[in-house]
């Protein structure tokens, strides 16, 4: 009971000390809530076409206008985050999760394992992310699982690097030595001794990678390798509606603003956490 009160106060102080983090988290939460409650919020079905009401500007009935097929842009914007968010969240959880475990393992084991892993990472990191993804999607097809897998593989190495650097400093400390002397294996050592001390770094990594992956997944949709029509998706919507940018600008700007709010939010959150906990975002380690 007494442990909760200081925790609440600490959180409160943390938010007060970093308003940018608060703004970021609110933006991300807003996007998540909208994506979850889209069926309740949307005035129309996102895929229902209406040939008579196609390409209309904003009006009382359609606040953001309609697209070429007469679908309500607002409803599609509200639904449009679902695909990107789901895929990005899955890919981020996988990339950060696997990255954290491998990064800790490399720092813990050192020696040949660390060496071999580092060389593999070098190889993966030298390939541009979007190029690798396009190749994978072209070869394996554009299903959601393929994109998740590809995004994970592309972003995992960076996470491993950062986590390894942070964990390296912890592994040398006496309390980890004490755990080794007790004969504890990698798993309890990581969960109990290393993980709580690199949590800050992992949180920043999570927010940062999430923003990159959202951008990547939306870019793929924009290029036609992501969501398939008629799925409402921001990237796809920008691609579909950009030709009538001059006629109904809101149909393009709507998804752009929505996507931007999510990415800006994630970046602000990452920055805020990093600043509040004294983490160097570039080096990844503790300042």
């Amino acid at each position: 009971m007494s442990a909760n009160a200081p925790a609440a106060r600490r959180t409160y102080r943390l938010f007060r000390s970093s308003p940018s983090m608060l703004v970021g988290l609110v933006l991300v939460a807003l996007n998540a809530v909208v994506a979850l409650t889209a069926p309740l919020l949307a005035p129309f079905s996102p895929i229902q076409t209406d040939a008579l009401a196609a390409i209309e500007g904003p009006s009382g009935a359609h606040l953001l206008g309609t697209d070429q097929l007469g679908r309500d842009v607002l409803s599609r914007v509200l639904y449009g985050g679902r695909y990107a968010l789901l895929i990005s969240l899955t890919a981020t959880v996988l990339a950060v999760g696997i990255g954290t475990v491998l990064g800790c393992l490399a720092a813990y084991r050192r020696g040949w394992f660390d060496e071999a892993l580092s060389r593999v990472l070098d190889a993966v990191l030298s390939v541009p992310a979007i190029l690798a993804l396009l190749v994978v999607v072209t070869v394996l097809g554009a299903g959601a699982p393929v994109i998740v897998l590809a995004a994970t593989v592309v972003y995992c190495p960076a996470v491993i690097r950062v986590v390894r650097a942070a964990a390296f400093g912890i592994v040398g400390l006496d309390y980890v030595t004490a755990a080794r002397a007790r004969g504890e294996g990698f798993r309890p050592t990581m969960v109990r001794e290393i993980w709580p001390n690199i949590l800050d770094v992992v949180m920043v990594e999570f927010a940062m990678r999430a923003s990159w992956i959202v951008l990547l997944v939306s870019s793929l949709s924009f290029l036609g390798f992501g969501a398939d029509p008629p799925t409402p998706d921001w990237g796809l919507m920008v691609s579909e509606n950009r030709t009538m940018m001059t006629v109904v600008p809101s149909a393009t700007l709507g998804p752009i603003v929505a996507l931007a709010s999510l990415i800006v939010g994630l970046n602000l959150a990452a920055d805020g956490i990093a600043k509040a906990r004294g983490i160097d975002r570039i080096g990844g380690g503790l300042r």
């Binding site: 442990a3 006496d174 030595t177 004490a178 755990a179 002397a181 007790r182 004969g183 001794e193």
Partner: protein, 678 residues
Amino acid sequence: MTVTVPVSTAELVADVSDLSVAYRSGRRDVPVLRDVSLKIYAGAALAVVGESGCGKSTLAGALVGHLRAGSRVTAGSVRIGGADILTASRPRLLALRRGRVGFVPQNAGHSLTPSMRVGAHVVEVLRTARGMSPATARAEAVELFRQVRLPEPEILVDRYPHQLSGGQQQRVAIAVALAGQPRLLVLDEPTTGLDVVTKAGVLALFDRLRAELGIALVLVSHDLGAVSAVCERIAVMYAGRVVESGDTATTFRQPSHPYTRGLLSSLPRLREPGLPVGLAGTVPSEPEPAGCAFAPRCSFAQESCGRGEAPRLVSVPGRDGASACLRTPEVLAAPAWESAVRARQPRAAQEPLLEVRGLTVDYRRRPDPGSGPTVSDVDLVVRRGEVVALVGESGSGKSTIAWTIAGLRRPTSGEITLLDGTAPADLTREAARRDPTVRRQVQLIFQNAGTALNPRRTAGDAISRPLRLRGLRREAARTARDEALRDVGLEPGHADRLPAQLSGGQQQRVGIARAIAAGPTLVLADEVVSALDVSVQASVLGLLDDLREEHHLGYLFISHDLAVVRGIADRVVVLYLGRVCEEGPVDLVLRPHDAAHPYTRLLVASVLATEPGVGAPAPAADGEPESAPPAAGCAFQRRCPHRLDQVCDRETPPWQDLADGHRIRCHVPVVELRAGPA
């Protein structure tokens, strides 16, 4: 009453008058220094001593016009050569720091920029403060390096800080401070973290600098022994006040303040066997209690001590000194510290617990004809209920041996056997490959309690982990945990605290509780008290001894502090560069004036040079420890005054048995060793 240092004819270098400093915490001012007055004259040396948290470092900073962020002067002034350094304008402050005061911070290694050559640090000061040309500045830097006794100064100026040993870095920092030709040199904890031999060398250097340059020294230290060797005046600080000041020799012989008495009685000494009883309690953190701040810890305290104003510093009748105590006459009448030593009980030989035979650890990746393995051919026996000390300078392989026994490192060759239990257990295996009962029996206690505990886990968590090795869960584990906490003198309530919420001494107690909770038979204690204040050190040593008695434990006690070893150990093994030089009962090995092996002799002489009231000269031997063992022969050959050509550098020295269990490894017969170098 002002602390005056020393004779009035000399130039007054620094004049601190009624200085009070406070920092802001929340909405309150918390005083750090209260009414401190000091006068320092040219050529004098003043020691400022006390436990951590007594305001020593704040005073040292104030002398060079630096206060930590958030703190401010609430009263008084610090006048350096007539100017108040605390209110000086920026250019004036820089001028004062360039020419009048020099500062050597704690941990000199961290104060040097790693990417700058050490010579460049000095040249920088010479060029800005004394306007020298690059060539002259370089020549002067070499000269300064020679002055601080750095070997081969012409070559050393072009080295980077990491290529130097700790003692050498310390000397470079002193050279940097001397470059501005200061009249006053302030040194914050100048000997902390240095080996005994290096420490004696650095102290001898201070003495020479003072004589050669006529500068005033202020040594801020918790190491009472170190300062007594160099400073003729001492100021003892407690809770931000100077509580006693005076002539060092007199103060040490007969302290007039109970706190000084307590500090001195906490100090283990080489000449006095047994553990010091020490001083109970801790320095009060804010706010200041009424009356004397020391009253709660004081055995002389009477009811009037806890009321009214804090006692003022008044001169002690009949001697050159002052004390801030209401009961000075009673303190002076009481016998000095000797009575406060807990005598060491002679212990009967027990069955062996740990046997190490021919242990060799080699870190070298590829064969190197110029050096030998890090640890070579070490034999050790630890019996039940016995404390065996491993002593030597840093780099002597003490920790490597402990880590190998703990299963954190594989030995290159040799046998390590744990003889407790039904069958002897092989300890050359890594910890993870050992049987849980064997893992439980061997426990480590670390030097730095701060890094030995996970900052995100509570004390209770740390103690509970090893209980799993005993198969205890839930309720049984909680009971055992509370019992372990009580064993080390903490409350069960401490279990919920995070390490940051505990004091240094309490953290070390948690570290000990974690080791004891596993139910060990053998405890490997790696420099466990060297990071603690003297009073805390004494109580932790007492605790370790009690636990040994109570649980019938065998200790492998690693330390570079011979006085501590003398207090707690039964037998000593002296290591030099990973080779055993001498071993035997503590009373026979650590003989103050006729140690047998030349290396032990050097160690003992270095310690004696820093022991209060001894005044022995620093040993003449070269103070720089070596880093790599020679490929063949005796490890100590390069520093040994008895060296025999063609013998010591070729053949491994033979064992010479001297007495019951006491033997040395040396080519020279012990009679000749005792007679002194040829």
